[in-house]
Amino acid sequence: MSRIRVTNLTKRFGSSTIVDDLELTIEEGEFVVLLGPSGCGKTTTLRCLAGLETPEGGTISFADKVVHDAERRVSVPTHKRNIGMIFQSYALWPHMTVRDNIAYPLKVRRQKDALRTGAVEKAAGMVDCEQLLDRYPSQLSGGQQQRVAVARGLVSEPDLVLFDEPLSNLDARLRDQVRTQIHQLHQRLGFSAVFVTHDQSEAFALGDRLAIMKSGRLEQVDTPQQVFDEPSSDYVAQFIGMANRLDLTRHQDGWKASNGDVVHLGDRTPERGSTDTVVARLRRDDLRLHRPDDRVAPGTTVLHGTLVTTEFGGRHHDVLVDVDGQKLTLQADTREHGGWLPKAEGGHPVVVSFRSSDVRVFDAEGRAVRGASVVTPIRATGSATS
């Protein structure tokens, strides 16, 4: 199958618009990961692609064939679209054994060769379910059902596979394994895919491109690297893990956080006159924690705050720091801070540092500020030692 093109897709439930004028092109064999908060319309988008919903507006075409056109009232029924879909709720047929569930797409598509050559067993093996083939869905655990659903969605090697959070109920190891299997299958067969997930590592590992959705629209569609490095908006930045937000205001001597600490924005410093308040975003693992009297590497920005809470998280502690009312979270390595941190109480003064190359800057509308030629008169680059 060649590319899938979605234009102006609009879907409403009653008065609320769930998918709003959505545009997306999926190249042949491309693996697009769809990310977005709960309720933003991901499932609905997949259902529109599958032909399970009738969008009120827009067109969808598979290769050069229009499969949906709201205006011309064209709508190719689901079963003629050669897709595979893995439902968020699994939707295994309770009256069929696992084997029959997985074999179903092959049977109805008359892929007798595949049936004969053990495609069902192979698909089941892929998700570690060979030994469950003769059970009924009601005799499976939640994770087992989900895996069977994945096998069923992939077994007939369709042109387009729609995954709706297919690994959410699996433990880390199994999830890695199934993810790898999906990846390999994709490489081998070259199907196109839209994959909904809430797991960022999954998104990065699988996606040729990520599409980040916000209340029915796509906010950014880019390669994982691009999304990671250059989130196009405050929303995207936040969503892909830049959980720390700092409100900055322009001052004579540079950009300052509300507690007065100067923040270096490097080559992301907004042009003079363009705006006076910006939002800086930082990943939690780009922040480093120090005790007030620790040395900090030169060239980094320092912020003074107080400890709020710490939480054990395995190799690290999750730490919440208050900087004049703005909460920053970071992960402090247990090997570095194991000594004092677990004993430190809330209110303990601490220092947080980061490199200016790690910060991302957004204007008041949330648009990324990027690559302004560095003509701003910021002087101080002092290092915190206090």
């Binding site: 599958a50 439902f87 309770p94």
Partner: protein, 564 residues
């Protein structure tokens, strides 16, 4: 979706001796109400050296009669199964605007069977039938002087009986269909199945409990079919067990013993049907599609569904209704449709007949009261059958006993009741209570089976969620199970109401002397009046029944259903 949390669960439905005692009392009451009349009948049939049996089974043609009965039943059940299932599927795919068409498949039984048959005879009688006359205008039939259709043939008995049974199958299947989550169908579509494929591979298998129970009920009703063979089959010598019974009891010397004996194969078949249902179903948890993850129902725009439902409505409902209306407006059944014959005289005659309003009121009251009792009784039995794994003996007994009344035609049952309630320990002869009691017993199979299929489809998840929320079994039933089963309960209420307002056979025997019901009035007209009067009375019954069903639907609240 299904998940493992749907394992049947004994604990939720109350634990311990209280529940056991409750069920035991229920089953005991059931046995008293159902089995005792049967026992009385059988002791009659076996009395006097089994004279009843000797009389009935000594006949040379008894083998043939049974064989005809079974053949007719099977053939019409096949028609009913196919049509009923297709209709249920079609009504589930009606566009929003046409959802009112959901009523259509039930409507044919709103017309009393006698009326239906008479209506058809009017249309398709080989000579003067209007449809036949019209068809004879067609070029390829213009050489005929009668026909082409002979409504008096066995084929048409089967077809018309099939139409009647279709509504029953439909009610069962549509109650089951309502419980299939849309995502299970969508999953099949995304797997590459066309609508038809989805229907055959997913919908039908998932409907197995509904189909099996629906088919079982339809089969028993088919075995007990009466009006068609009696009114249409005389010419071709169609004899079935019920017409035999009818003859045994309807003319002198009335031979109840032989009639009871004639009914015995039906009882045996009824028991076999129950056993077959058990065998065919196996592990019923496999048919649960409610899993707790809420599903959206797809907006469908299947125009074939509208076409199909409308076509069925025209054939099974509109045509005989037109026939009936025409007859009712004429002073006599006439081959020529001349407008100047039309008048409302028959209705006037009808309303001039004394007590007609009383009969209507009595019918409605008795039917309503019986329905009000039947729903909870049926619910309790269904509960026992579906969830009462711990009460093995009680369950089996309840299963058999609750199916029994279907296996005995009401005529015979009426006699049984008469024999039972005129003797100690409980003498109810001549009271209204006995009518209601009979009605309850007659309806228990429907109340039970319809609710049972819905309960099966519902699974355990919702109940478990309620139990973990701290609700006791009673609260769970009232607040969770009952509302979720609303479509099925409504179906059951509608069906029972229809059947009871038409009931006459048992009523004749047990009614209190001064109380008429609509069915007995119709029967009087049928044995003493003329077809036009029968038609007028039947129309009156149709209207009363239809209004009752509509009220049930409105009270039940369609919009609530749409949110499911």
């Amino acid at each position: 979706m299904t998940s493992l949390v749907q394992r049947p669960l004994a604990l939720v439905i109350a634990v311990g001796w209280k529940a056991r005692l409750g069920y035991a009392v229920l089953v005991a009451a059931l046995i008293y109400m159902v089995v005792l009349p049967l026992y009385r009948l059988q002791s009659l049939a076996f009395g006097d050296g089994a004279r009843g049996y000797r009389a009935q089974y000594g006949r040379a043609d008894i083998g043939e009669v049974i064989w005809t009965t079974v053949q007719l039943a099977l053939a019409s059940v096949v028609i009913a199964l196919v049509l009923g299932t297709l209709l249920a599927f079609a009504t589930s795919r009606l566009p929003q605007r046409f959802s009112f068409l959901r009523m259509v498949p039930v409507l044919p039984i709103v017309m009393p069977a006698v009326a239906n048959i008479v209506g058809w005879a009017f249309l398709l009688s080989p000579g003067p039938g209007y449809l036949n006359a019209a068809m004879r205008q067609l070029p390829w039939w213009d050489h005929l002087d009668s026909g082409p259709v002979d409504v008096y043939s066995a084929t048409w008995i089967i077809i018309l009986t099939g139409f009647g049974l279709t509504s029953f199958v439909y009610l069962f299947v549509s109650a089951g269909m309502a419980a299939i989550s849309a995502e299970h169908l969508e999953a099949a579509q995304t797997s590459g199945s066309s609508t038809i494929g989805v229907f055959f591979r997913v919908v039908l298998p998932l409907l197995r409990p509904s189909l099996i129970y629906g088919a079982g009920v339809a089969l028993l009703l088919g075995l007990g079919q009466f009006t068609g063979p009696l009114l249409l089959g005389a010419n071709t010598g169609v004899k079935v067990l019920t017409t035999e019974m009818y003859r045994r009891v309807s003319e002198s010397p009335a031979d109840f013993a032989a009639a009871a004996a004639a009914g015995s194969p039906l009882v045996v078949l009824g028991l076999l049907v129950v056993l077959a249902q058990k065998l065919l179903l196996g592990d019923q948890t496999r048919f649960v599609t409610h899993g707790g993850k809420a599903f959206k129902s797809t907006p469908t725009r299947s125009w074939w569904a509208v076409t199909f439902v409308v076509a069925y409505g025209v054939v099974a409902l509109l045509l005989p209704l037109v026939g009936l209306v025409l007859v009712s407006l004429m002073p006599y059944w006439s081959a020529s449709l001349s407008l100047d014959l039309f008048s409302l005289d028959n209705f006037r005659t009808l309303f001039a007949t004394p007590d007609i309003i009383d009969a209507v009121v009595t019918s409605i009251v008795a039917a309503s009261v019986a329905v009000v009792f039947c729903v909870p009784i049926g619910f309790a039995i269904a509960n026992l059958l579906v969830r009462g794994r711990r009460y093995r003996v009680l369950r089996i007994v309840a299963d058999l006993v609750s199916a029994l009344p279907l296996g005995i035609p009401a005529v015979i049952f009426g006699v049984g009741f008469l024999l039972t309630y005129t003797q100690p320990p409980i003498i109810l002869y001549g009271t209204r209570t006995v009518i209601i009691l009979v009605y309850i017993v007659l309806m228990i199979p429907f109340a039970t089976r319809l609710q049972m299929t819905a309960m099966l489809a519902l699974g355990e998840t919702y109940i478990e969620a309620s139990a973990t929320s701290g609700a006791n079994p009673l609260t769970t039933n009232v607040r969770i199970v009952f509302p979720l089963m609303r479509p099925a309960i409504l179906s059951a209420v509608a069906l029972m109401f229809i059947l009871l307002t038409h009931e006459f056979a048992a009523s004749l025997l047990v009614r209190s002397p001064t109380t008429q019901v609509m069915g007995t009035r119709l029967f009087d007209l049928w044995s003493n009046g003329s077809y036009p009067l029968v038609a007028a009375m039947a129309l009156l019954m149709t209207v009363v029944t239809g209004v009752g069903v509509a009220v049930a639907m409105v009270v039940g609240g369609r919009n609530v259903l749409d949110n499911l």
